[in-house]
């Protein structure tokens, strides 16, 4: 029997007992549907995280801070004892965690650490407000992109680091309050930034809006406005008016660049070296690590449920085919009497099982993709409206194909049990009158 004829027979045999086939397919469908949705959930969330990684920073960079004294003696935040006042302490924004400001000397030290290619010091700039065209002023924090960082843009472009013009990108949330009619409308307009120096004198700076940034989950800048180098310098100079150079040179953190080809072990060595000098290095992976681990864990558990559903479905396949073999004893006997080999009989029944699996999984995956897209769209407008750019359930062709293959494979394996029985059938026994 030719293979094509065998496949054709397998397919048409599948539709012979329609009710039973449909019920079996339904069972497989449930498993494939669940598996597709859960893995889609993993894909969607992890893709979103991967997107935001570049927003947090380049993968060959780490953030270096100087932990405050008590944090060093009492590792792990959340001490109940009151902390002694430290004039150099900088609030990290995370309750209970503070770092000591880094000085130019510290930056030099970090630069000298083995494995450090380059250091970018991060200044703290605290403007008073941002205002457009004499409208309502709004408080704002300032962030800047280090080379290699990107941000998700709603309109316009990122501030040009090399431009001498004072450029700024404002978050989406600021567009309407400031008085712009749309994201695109904001691009090209001039806003006023106010900043107060150490002598309590307020200065203002005019800057051109070049872009509107989306609010991203792991963005380092969050709701802060993004400045280019030139604007950052201008604001910092105004803020430092009246301070000595030593007082002005205070940095919250520094970005350290290392060899992009560095292995995990080499990165760990670099961290240890920094720790010896009294600094803490945190890579993007460190920052996202826990989140990814948690999400992977959840997806794994969900996938496990889907697999259980599939296993249940595979018993359905075994049952369906055993019944089918039972019913078709005569037919099998006849085919063998007519010279069909046991191997071909086995293949025929295995193919029927695989076809059931293929059908169930294709339908399951198809409907899951439609449902998943619908759920994502609905969630994006309601539950997850605060996380633009997140597609809750995403599908990549590789994992979709993998699911179909997996389910078909499971079905095939389940089918081998009844197929062996069919292959072993003795034609004489099968053809005996009842």
């Amino acid at each position: 029997m030719r293979t094509t004829a065998l496949i054709g027979s397998a397919v048409s045999n599948t539709f012979r007992s329609k009710t039973r086939t449909i019920l079996t397919i339904l069972a497989i469908f449930v498993g494939a549907f669940t598996l597709t949705l859960t893995s889609g959930l993993g894909t969607g969330i992890n893709a979103y995280l991967a997107d935001t990684v570049s927003g947090v920073g380049a993968s060959d960079a780490m953030t270096v801070t100087k932990p405050s004294e008590d944090a060093a003696t009492l590792p792990g935040a959340g001490s109940d004892e009151p902390a002694e006042y430290d004039a150099n302490a900088v609030d990290t924004g995370i309750p209970g965690q503070s770092v000591t400001a880094m000085t130019s000397d510290d930056i030099d030290t970090v630069e000298g650490v083995d494995g450090v290619l380059r250091v970018d010091a991060q200044r703290t700039i605290t403007p008073d407000y941002v205002q457009f065209d004499d409208g309502t002023p709004y408080t704002a924090t300032v962030g800047s992109l280090v080379p290699g960082q990107t941000t998700v843009l709603a309109a316009g472009a990122e501030p040009d680091a090399d431009a001498s013009e004072l450029q700024v990108a404002i978050p989406v949330a600021y567009v309407e309050p400031l008085g712009f009619s749309s994201d695109d409308d904001a691009v090209g307009q001039t806003v006023t930034l106010a900043i107060t120096d150490a002598e309590r004198t307020q200065h203002t700076v005019e800057a051109t809006v070049v872009g509107v940034t989306e609010e991203a989950l792991a963005s380092p800048t969050g709701q802060s406005i993004l400045t280019n180098e030139a604007l950052g310098d201008a604001l910092f100079d105004l803020q430092s008016t009246g301070l000595t150079a030593e007082q002005a040179d205070r940095y919250t953190s520094a970005t350290v660049w290392f060899d992009p080809a560095a292995t995990d072990d080499e990165i760990q060595v670099l961290k240890d070296n920094l720790a010896d000098e009294g600094f803490t290095g945190t890579t993007i992976a460190d920052q996202l690590g826990i989140v990814t681990t948690v999400i992977d864990g959840i997806v794994l558990v969900l996938n496990a449920f889907a697999i259980i559903a599939l296993l249940a479905a595979s018993f359905g396949i075994v049952n369906t085919l055993y019944m089918s073999v039972q019913e078709r004893t005569r037919e099998i006997g006849l085919m063998k009497a007519m010279g069909m080999g046991s191997g071909r009989v086995f293949t025929l029944f295995s193919l029927e099982a695989a076809f059931l699996g293929l059908l169930g999984s294709a339908i399951g995956v198809g409907i899951a993709m439609v449902a998943g897209s619908g759920i994502s769209a609905a969630a994006a407008d309601t539950l997850l409206a605060d996380l633009p750019g997140l597609t809750l359930i995403a599908f990549d062709p590789v994992s979709v194909a993998a699911i179909i293959l997996l389910v078909t494979g499971i079905a095939f394996l389940a089918g081998t049990f009844p197929a062996v029985r069919a292959a072993r059938a003795d034609p004489v026994e099968s053809l005996r009158y009842e």
């Binding site: 004829a5 005569r330 009497a337 080999g341």
Partner: protein
């Protein structure tokens, strides 16, 4: 005389063992020449079907030999055995063994499908066989919806579609009324006469047996009578 197409020598077959051992065949020997029509008759349980299964290479004898054109069939194994059965034999059973949910044509082309013959060729030869049995108009019907006589004619079409040299028929008319049975008999003997296909019929029906060239009577697993018809066809 040419080599017999089938030659049976001292064939024994027993089922079960020990206390339950039952000897279904106890030393059967005979030759079948090509183009003969043979009736195997005997009481129920005498071993007719057992003998037929051994002749058709569906079962192996406990001892003794079955030779096909002088070649010992004990040497035939696996795919060679399957190919021999597929090419040489056609089967007609009392119970038809048609797949009811498949069409008449699909049932008829099954042996060719097993032989690995292409779809177009299958269809052509399948239709030709149905034509021969005046069933062409039923080709697309489901086999389950046929009358008994039509079913048996479908089975005969299936048996001859691969141009077999021997057709085995186990009670071919057992499930049919006399008139329909007579039609089926006519077809079988027609094939025997016109195409020289060797016909081996297992039957209770003495009238059917009488139409054969030769009649082998079996009792308790032994041949007790082997007679040729007085008037040669």
């Amino acid at each position: 005389m040419s080599t017999p197409i089938i030659s049976v020598r001292d064939v024994h077959k027993s089922y079960g063992r020990g206390q339950n051992r039952f000897d279904a065949l106890r030393g059967v020997s005979f030759d079948i020449s090509e183009g003969e029509s043979i009736a195997i008759v005997g009481k129920s349980g005498s071993g007719k079907s057992t003998l037929m299964h051994i002749l058709a290479l569906l079962d192996v004898p406990g001892s003794g030999t079955v030779a096909l054109e002088g070649n010992d069939t004990a040497q035939l194994r696996g795919s060679r055995l399957n190919r021999t059965r597929n090419k040489t034999f056609g089967f007609v059973f009392q119970q038809f063994f048609l797949t009811g949910s498949n069409t008449v044509l699909e049932n008829v082309v099954l042996p060719m499908k097993i032989a690995g013959i292409g779809g177009a060729e299958r269809r052509r030869r399948g239709m030709a066989a149905l034509e021969q049995l005046e069933l062409a108009d039923k080709a697309k019907n489901k086999a389950a919806n046929l009358s008994g006589g039509q079913k048996q004619r479908t089975v005969i079409a299936r048996a001859l579609v691969n141009n077999p040299r021997i057709i085995f028929a186990d009670e071919p008319t057992g499930n049919l009324d006399t008139a329909t049975g007579a039609v089926v008999e006519d077809i079988l003997f027609g094939l025997n006469r016109e195409h020289g296909i060797t016909l081996i019929v297992v039957t209770h029906d003495e009238d059917l047996a009488a139409r054969c060239d030769r009649r082998i009577l079996i009792r308790d697993g032994r041949i007790v009578e082997d007679s040729r018809a007085e008037v040669a066809a």
